[in-house]
Symmetry: C2
Subunit: 425 residues, 2 copies
């Protein structure tokens, strides 16, 4: 069901680990046009584009209080209880990330300080489509609250009947988000970045989305609004020694595969027998799961790679920088310590990726496409920026002035030097 | 010398605070062509472009050991001593920013952890041109070392005789950077992002530069390498009450103005008399400073704004999000506490911006153009990424499985649910 590749050469391995995603200039052209229209015509453009793409003509985009009240009645008490558990765990882990001010007297009379301040206006994009991804509301709105962001808005596409999934509204409500707009795709990103008559522009945009959403985020980030991370198709790497359960590993590979046809699931194992056993479980599970047709497409991008040793496994991990890394080993901690590049790591046999997707407490908005080599997943810091401060006493500037003057004159910047000199007169 | 604007309306104020910088599609077209050539032809393209833009034909780009030894002999002992002071202060402040691992048991048997890991390969761009900005070498290479980045490379443009300023080589040497390449502008950014025969690609690119460099950074960040911040023209805002010294303020405004013709210096004061006094000092200083012609251009983008109150001052600060904010007040701390958006803050009468530019210990690579609303200046975190980890026990997954299953099924993701179920069998 998934191709097994035994001891690939490094070229073959590169080929297997290629991400199926490619950026498409046609997508950028379409998105650029949408952004230009929203910038120029505001709400009128949003309405026009929504009519075309979502097949619904909305005179206003904001979700009303009565829609929220109605949504709350539609959520089962079982799901409410689950969301409560997830919310509590996510809050605990993100609250623990609060930054303590740093103050250092770097030389006599020279005090430097670093403080974290919330980004005052943030916009969260929640995709609609086949599955209402309400868990993403928790993953983004809860840290925004903990950070202290003053204004938090959500955009999410309306259904053809002009509704938003009740689960999304329920989660937004328990996170205290009051301003929810029925706007989808690149249009939503443009509206949040540039503002319209009904939406104030935000300073940073968060959230996953299809390639149009990602392209729109990449275009606005060059001009006006920051973004969390460039979201690409989701991916998992499961690394195993002989202690791994083929059944658990198969379920993990499939749970990634059901995200979309361009998802990628990679297992890296040290024995061919385990590879074969995993595949047998995949076959069995596929026979009974819904979305199997969907999964078959993404499994075509996937592979089970057999390598020689744990050292090889570590090289593959750090070269691939998986969004999700599951270490299906009895001594997973030792391997986890060697991980340099990954989004989030799941250690041991009882830690499925789906735990992190929903409720262990870690964030599920993670760097895909190898960006884990240089970027963090969303965390409390993503909703803050750090400002530095310095305060120098009269004695401090007398001490430091010769250094400032020598360096400024070395760089040919006389006025920089003068700003120190006048203070020592 | 600088226009004084008394109690502007909010529209007038917006106009005054407009940044002189505009992004130019012509620049992006030129840069895109450079990037495509470097991607396609590697070192050959770098050599060709360097010949055209820097008027020097270099067969190899790497600075040799003997060039570094030669450079060290050219630095005065006075400048060496100043650089030592700066290095020590920058190291102290950035070392204090080290991140301690966070571990939280979010529910029974569910342990979540956040750790910081260095970005293994980083590239630093150091502009050449009229002034050799060797201080930027310290500001980027020292935190890269403290973070533990394994490979740190520098690109900097060669002079027409194929040399690099000795100050830059000296600073690189004392920071332990061995790989320095004579490549400038967008070509350098392309080479670091995509690699050539002689340069390994890096995962993140740092450093200031002109609009070609910034455009190149923005283009590569959509595809392959992260960047620190989108660098624009430098700017300062000096906010004053009547305790401010017109002479100090004038020197601060001019030290910003000498950076380049598109720099911006804004003073915000609560009395017209102070505005007039500042301008008188500016006039006097301009008469004796070099680069005065240069400064006159940037002072045309500048203004002294008179407002009614400290509250107005705080609104102006947070709306503008200055790269550098000097609070020239006896009680500067109180105003500093109200700052929401800024790059770096200089508190009190004895804290010139030039202290932070060189040697107080804070970083001088800061968000310009209003990006301070959502971005931090360069700091230790800029050279790291945070990875999350979770480890769940058998008991933990038994507790958490119902939550995972309810949420996964709510999102229509059956395989996600299955990955929890199989672990409870």
């Amino acid at each position: 069901m998934i191709k097994i590749v035994d001891k690939p050469s490094s070229e073959e391995l590169q080929q297997l680990l290629n991400r199926p995603f490619s950026s498409d200039t046609a997508v950028f052209d379409i998105v650029k046009d949408i952004i230009d229209r929203v910038k120029a015509k505001g709400d009128i453009a949003v309405r026009e584009i929504t009519k075309n793409t979502d097949s619904i003509d909305l005179a206003t985009f904001k979700v009303t209080d009565s829609e929220i009240e109605e949504a709350k009645l539609q959520i089962s008490s079982e799901l409410k209880a689950a969301i409560d558990v997830a919310k509590a765990n996510i809050e605990r882990f993100h609250a623990a990330q609060k930054f303590d001010d740093i103050t250092v007297e770097t030389s006599k009379g020279v005090t430097c300080c670093q403080k974290s301040k919330p980004i005052s206006r943030v916009g969260l994009y929640i995709p609609g489509g086949t599955a209402p991804l309400f868990s993403t509301v928790l993953m983004l709105a809860l840290p925004a609250n903990i950070a202290g962001c003053k204004e938090v808005i959500i955009c999410t596409p309306p259904s053809k009947s002009g509704k938003v999934a009740p689960e999304i509204l329920y989660c937004a409500d328990i996170c205290g988000v009051k301003n929810i707009y029925k706007i989808g795709g690149a249009t939503a990103i443009a509206a949040m970045a540039y503002g319209t008559e009904s939406i104030k522009p935000v300073y940073k945009i968060f959230g996953p989305g299809n390639r149009y959403v990602t392209a729109a985020k990449q275009l606005v980030m060059a001009h006006t609004a920051s973004i969390d991370i460039p979201a690409g198709p989701s991916e998992v790497m499961v690394v195993c020694d002989d202690s791994a359960s083929p059944r658990y590993v198969a379920a993990d590979l499939l749970s990634q595969a059901e995200h979309g046809s361009d998802s990628q699931s990679i297992a890296v194992v040290t024995s061919t027998a385990l590879a074969v056993a995993i595949n047998a479980e995949v076959k069995q599970m596929l026979a009974v799961l819904p979305r199997a047709e969907y999964m078959r497409q993404s499994l075509a991008n996937s592979s089970i790679v057999v390598v020689d040793s744990i050292e090889d496994i570590i090289d593959v991990i750090n070269d691939y920088a998986p969004e999700h890394l599951i270490i299906a080993m009895d001594n997973g901690d030792a391997v986890a310590d060697m991980v340099e590049n990954a989004g989030s790591v799941f250690i041991g046999h009882y830690t499925p990726e789906s735990a992190g997707d929903y409720c262990s407490g870690t964030n599920h908005t993670l760097p895909t496409g190898g960006w884990g080599k240089s970027m963090s997943g969303v965390n409390l810091d993503s909703f803050c920026k750090k400002i530095t401060y310095q305060k120098i006493t009269k004695e401090g500037i007398l001490n430091l002035a010769p250094t400032i003057i020598a360096m400024a004159e070395g760089e040919g910047l006389e006025a920089h030097s003068l700003a120190a000199k006048v203070r020592t007169e």
